[in-house]
């Protein structure tokens, strides 16, 4: 596991979406995980044909800890000119999820949810029930932890000291230990110690 060199960022506002200034960017709704699926189906029937994006935010000290954010766009699912589209509506659905809670997958409603849900799982560790292929997408398959969580450190462990280059082993290096005591053997012991600790 990575070290904890940088402390996690914990801000002063615990729940920013509740404090937002009036910005006209989307209609905002908040649903409980149990009602999420029903509400999304309802919205899709009422014309929100596109799942623009699916992301998550980790609020760490808040209860429930995560917000999974669905951005929906109202768009006719048939061919349309610019006049027909006019000003399409955007809707943002926030769903609070706690650490061990699962969410229903919407992969069968929108095909695009496939990779979006995999990414949220990969980077936040939120599990979507019903997803047919829920595995890591950005990080390597054997990665530990979920990087976009706020308690995941920003930096990895300090890099190990690189071994001495090969030319240092040659006999043209002056014999005898230098005053610093950094002979090849001492250095290798140091590296071994660093690796074991």
């Amino acid at each position: 596991m990575p070290s904890t060199q940088t402390p996690p960022i914990v801000g002063n506002a615990i729940d920013p979406p509740s404090l937002r200034p009036p910005i006209d960017d989307a209609t905002i709704e908040r649903v409980a995980p149990s009602e999420l699926r029903v509400r999304l189906e309802e919205l899709k029937r009422s014309g929100y044909a596109m799942l623009l994006d699916l992301g998550a935010v980790d609020y760490l000290v808040r209860k429930p800890r995560f917000d999974v954010v669905y951005h929906l766009l109202k768009l006719a699912p048939k061919q349309a000119g610019i006049a027909d589209i006019g000003r399409p509506a955007r809707l943002r659905l926030l769903c609070g999820v706690d650490e061990n809670e699962h969410l229903p997958s919407v992969m069968d409603l929108w095909k695009s949810a496939d990779w979006a849900e995999r990414e949220v799982y990969d980077l936040f560790g939120i599990i979507f029930d019903g997803h047919v292929d829920l595995r890591r997408i950005q990080m390597p398959v054997d990665w530990e932890g979920h990087p976009l969580r706020k308690d995941y450190p920003m930096r990895g462990p300090a890099r190990e000291r690189a071994p001495r280059p090969a030319f240092a082993n040659k006999t043209n290096v002056v014999a005898g230990a230098p005053p610093s005591g950094r002979t090849l053997q001492a250095l290798q012991e140091q590296i071994k110690k660093a690796r074991e600790s």
Partner: protein, 406 residues
């Protein structure tokens, strides 16, 4: 002479029944970056294509959480490296909305932003066209498109100081006004652009080989396109005229006169035509923006809490010095809240969901990467086609992997 037959390693090729699983990429010249596609093939026909991404994952969203609001823009610009200004503008617009200063951005700054956006669109489409041609064996078009792109990069270098990542946009306006001689060079570009477009169209549009390779390849129906969340030229080639510049105008796009090119065929050739038309429409917007640039004016908001004070005032005014010091050492704070802001990038709807908790650093920046969703549609359109056509489809969806993997 001995011929050494070397068996492929089992994780690359496995035979199961009548089909074979073959890994294409991640080091493949036609994948436009580091894309691996795990293909299930029946002789030459693709049965299933599963793109594997993440080879270029650089954790930009995580990195941005540890930087000041201004610094974060530097890494965000690196997402879509072919159209860096669109990333920067979208981010700046989002932060401006959280700060509540959207209405106070000077008009000249908005005009230059639009100009930059459209120039970057042409430059990005140039790269797409050149590489798309190379995928199909048309090597010469690459040199023509990169010649045109070079002129635009020269302009970017003139105002931002760097060719690829000018970092010219700022929260509250722009880094600085246009340099001397910029408008003259822009006029030259405007003048020679129609001739350049004729050349580009002449090289490929009526070419029978190109048409054979692209017509009826990778057809995306409007319903499929919406379900796969495809946006940008790829969606408009399927007949749906959704364009963020028209639907949710920003930076005064509603005051420009331009069309949104659409086609109804939904195949790779339609996407090609839509992008070429889009380059010409972009130039129309550039011309209109050029006319508005003759009147001088400020290019940065007059708000010392956000904008750096003019350099010459620092030695004279104590307040200016304090503001300068505060902005450099700890940045500005953004009131708590969340906002979704999107722009029409060359690839589609680029969106940022920005959350601020009142600190001087972003709490979370979620990107809506158009390339990611456009590329995902490959899973829907690839099956039933030849492997050779797969290359055309990837090219026509125009993914940029800095953005897909972030």
């Amino acid at each position: 002479m001995t011929v050494y037959a070397r068996p492929l390693s089992p994780d690359v090729v496995t035979q199961t029944g009548n089909t074979m699983v073959l890994s294409m990429g991640p080091q493949h010249p036609s994948t436009h970056g580091v894309l691996q596609i795990v293909l299930e093939i029946d002789s030459e026909n693709v049965v299933k294509a599963d793109p594997e991404i993440g080879y270029l994952h650089t954790g930009i969203e995580k990195t941005a959480e540890g930087l000041f609001w201004t610094q974060a823009q530097t890494v965000i610009e690196r997402m879509d490296y072919l159209a860096p200004s669109s990333n920067a503008l979208c981010y700046a617009l989002g932060v401006e909305r959280l700060l509540g200063i959207t209405d106070r951005i000077p008009p000249r700054a908005q005009t230059i932003r639009v100009l930059e956006m459209e120039l970057t669109r042409i430059a990005s489409h140039c790269v797409w066209l050149g590489t798309h041609g190379i995928d199909l064996g048309a090597l010469s078009i690459f040199f023509y498109t990169f010649d045109l792109r070079e002129d635009i990069l020269d302009l970017q270098e003139a105002n931002g100081g760097a060719r690829m990542h000018p970092n010219y946009m700022r929260v509250g306006g722009l880094n600085g006004d246009l340099p001397d001689g910029y408008l003259h060079k822009l006029d030259e570009l405007i003048e020679k652009f129609p001739g350049r477009m004729r050349e580009l169209r002449g090289l490929l549009q009526a070419n029978p080989i190109f048409q054979d390779r692209t017509i009826d390849v990778g057809v995306l129906s409007p319903e499929e396109a919406i379900s796969w969340n495809v946006t940008g030229p790829s969606l408009r080639a399927s007949g749906i005229a959704y364009d963020v510049r028209k639907a949710f105008p920003y930076s005064g796009y509603d005051t420009y006169d331009f069309h949104v090119p659409t086609r109804t065929e939904g195949d790779a050739y339609a996407r090609f035509l839509v992008r070429l038309d889009e380059m010409e429409e972009a130039m129309r917007i550039v011309k209109q923006a050029r006319q508005r640039l003759d009147t001088p004016g400020p290019v940065m908001i007059d708000d010392p809490k956000v904008a750096l004070p003019p350099k010459e005032t620092i030695a004279l005014s104590m307040e200016a010095l304090i503001h300068h010091f505060k902005l450099i050492s700890e940045g500005f704070r953004v009131p708590p809240g969340d906002v979704y802001q999107s722009v029409e990038s060359p690839r589609g709807e680029l969106g940022y969901y920005i959350v601020s908790n009142g600190e001087n650093r972003p709490y979370r920046i979620r990107t809506r990467p158009p390339s990611l969703y456009n590329l995902q549609a490959l899973k829907g359109i690839a099956p039933g086609n030849l492997i050779a056509d797969l290359v055309v489809m990837i090219g026509s969806l125009d993914p940029v992997f800095g953005e897909v993997d972030r």
